[in-house]
């Protein structure tokens, strides 16, 4: 397939293709179609934001029930005052960042081994990877807890990090490996000829060239380890260690008495993920290009 050459040099793929220039004309009909679709698509999101602005003392709504009649920021101030949001935010970062780094490193290494080094029984490896993809958190939480306890990592952020890293590994390996396979064999062999060690080839050539595929893995891993709450809930006993995702529990409670506050927290939690997405989405599109190739 001729497209291979295109993907083989991520620099080329990352730079804006010239064909875009020609397409700028007569986009107005596209916008005419896209704007209403996008608006429709956003309605539930607007509703989420709307409900987060619904003050506790006036649960009445307007505009087909989507927006509060008297919007106010009271839920946000309430949430901010009642919870050490910054502390939880730090914990969330302490969980998410290391798990992303571990998955990125160990995943890249494994993907490199599977793409370029001698590892037989690929079907078995593939089957194992699928096993990792398919496990739902609720099905493994009890077993994972027992392991963490056995290796002395109960009530430790590191334990949570390791579980997320393990669960994120299959997706990372599949995506990164396909990315690495798009790098032509000649690159590998030329480096070999120059006497580069296997590690040097991985670290100096493949790892940087695989950056676009890596950004896919990063966003996926951020989404998973940032959003999950079941594992930290069970595995972290100390309130000081708890991540941001456990804050909504205070507002769900038995009787979910403050839906506005709940929504406010959930909006706050979503913002960092959206920021990460925006930051890496340029790579993401190119990264997936490497991956699906």
């Amino acid at each position: 397939m001729s497209a291979t050459t295109d993907a083989s040099t991520p620099e080329a793929a990352a730079s804006e293709p010239p064909r875009r220039m020609r397409r700028k004309r007569s986009d107005s009909w596209l916008h005419a179609a896209l704007i209403p679709i996008a608006l429709l698509w956003m309605l539930p999101v607007i509703m989420v934001i709307g409900l987060s602005l619904m003050p506790a003392n006036d649960p009445s709504t307007t505009f087909f029930g989507m927006l509060p009649e008297s919007p106010s920021l009271s839920n946000y101030t309430l949430v901010w005052e009642q919870n050490p949001i910054l502390q939880h935010l730090v914990n969330s970062l302490l969980i998410t960042v290391p798990s992303v780094i571990i998955v990125a490193m160990a995943g890249s290494m494994a993907a490199f081994a599977l793409a370029r080094l001698h590892v037989p029984v690929k079907a078995l490896v593939f089957g194992l990877l699928i096993l990792g993809l398919v496990l739902p958190m609720s099905g493994i939480v009890v077993a994972a807890f027992k392991i963490l306890q056995a290796i002395g990592l109960y009530n430790s952020i590191l334990g949570v990090v390791l579980v997320y890293s393990a669960l994120g590994m299959p997706f990372a390996v599949i995506i990164l490996r396909t990315g690495y396979l798009a790098i032509p064999d000649e690159t590998y062999e030329a480096a070999r000829m120059d006497g580069a060690s296997t590690w040097a080839i991985f670290w100096k050539i493949y790892f940087p060239l695989g950056r676009p595929a890596l950004s896919v893995v990063v966003i996926w891993q951020v989404m998973m380890s940032w959003n999950d709450f079941l594992l930290p809930l069970v595995a972290l006993g100390d309130n000081d260690l708890k991540p941001l995702t456990l804050v909504p529990l205070a507002y769900r409670g038995v009787f979910l008495s403050q839906p506005g506050a709940l929504f406010a927290v959930l909006v706050l939690i979503s913002i960092p993920v959206i920021l990460v997405f925006i930051a890496v989405q340029r790579y993401l599109v190119n990264g997936l290009a490497g991956a699906v190739k």
Partner: protein
């Protein structure tokens, strides 16, 4: 070529970190589930070994049949629309329209949101008493909008599927955007010169060239469908009367709410077996190229 150069040693070393994590935190829980599935066990007090009885009971359980049927519905009914709409959006955005970055983020946001919020909001949207759709229906005369989508056993699963499509279409769009960037524009230009219409180019050239994207989405879609949990749990709790039950919600309910960890584990094991079988047979049917990337070398 590669086999000749490489030796097993470095391969193992490079795999090791991932493998250790994987075996400890993924393989062990599976072993644990398999073992628990042979017990009559409430998860707390000593269990009784009952061999394969849980599986025998499970295969006779009508709820299990419903859950399997729902999974069978869920897989095509989410994957196909998500892929189609995602592809259309990608085709539109790939033209480099103004603010395409903005549109991309917009369509991807639902995938980022917590299923808890998504569930509560869509319940408010579809509530036939005075939900958004009902109100819109009243205002426009389209009374069918106010239907009992979530509460009617014959439509509940479809209502949840619709929400799932809303959540994950942006994800398919991103995959297609990526795939489209790889298509050699000269092929398209040539087709244009030959007088092919946009429709012809898209269906006859672009669509087949996106094969790897289709297959990746299919694989992720099948696995994602089988392990769907939160959305169903929040929207319908698998109801009414199990009408929208999926395997993970069923397993959760048995293991934790009905104190039957053994039975719940049997459901999880079946789920794992189904997922692996489906994925491996996909590889059989379509070739492993889309996963191993080897096909392009042929």
């Amino acid at each position: 070529m590669r086999e000749r150069i490489a030796k097993a040693g470095p391969g193992l070393l490079f795999l090791l970190p991932a493998l250790i994590l994987f075996v400890v935190f993924v393989v062990y829980p599976i072993v644990y589930n398999v073992q628990a599935s042979t017990l009559r066990w409430d998860g707390v007090n000593p269990g009784v070994f009952i061999g394969l009885d849980n599986y025998a009971d499970l295969f006779r359980d009508p709820v299990f049949h419903t859950a399997l049927k729902n999974s069978a519905l869920w897989i095509p009914l989410t994957i196909v629309p998500q892929a189609l709409m995602g592809l259309l959006l990608a085709l539109a955005l790939n033209r480099g329209v103004f603010a395409s970055t903005f549109y991309r983020a917009l369509f991807f946001i639902p995938a980022i949101l917590s299923p808890i919020v998504v569930g509560i909001v869509w319940q408010r949207i579809m509530d036939p008493f005075n939900g958004v759709l009902t109100e819109v229906g009243k205002a426009t005369g389209l009374d069918w909008l106010g239907g009992n989508f979530l509460s009617d056993p014959s439509t509940a699963i479809f209502a949840v599927i619709a929400v799932n499509i809303w959540m994950w279409t942006g994800f398919s769009m991103l995959f297609y955007l990526a795939g489209l960037q790889l298509i050699d524009t000269s092929v398209l230009e040539a087709a244009k010169v030959d007088g092919a219409s946009w429709w012809q180019t898209t269906t006859r050239i672009v669509f087949p060239l996106l094969k790897h994207t289709h297959l990746s989405l299919l694989l992720l879609g099948i696995i994602g469908s089988l392990k769907t949990f939160e959305l169903v749990y929040v929207l319908t709790q698998g109801g009414p009367n199990h009408a929208s039950e999926m395997l993970p919600t069923f397993a959760f309910q048995e293991a934790f709410q009905l104190q039957s960890v053994g039975y719940g584990s049997a459901i999880s094991v079946v789920l794992i077996v189904v997922a692996v079988t489906a994925s491996l047979s996909m590889v059989r049917v379509f070739g492993s190229g889309f996963i191993t990337g080897e096909e392009k070398r042929k």
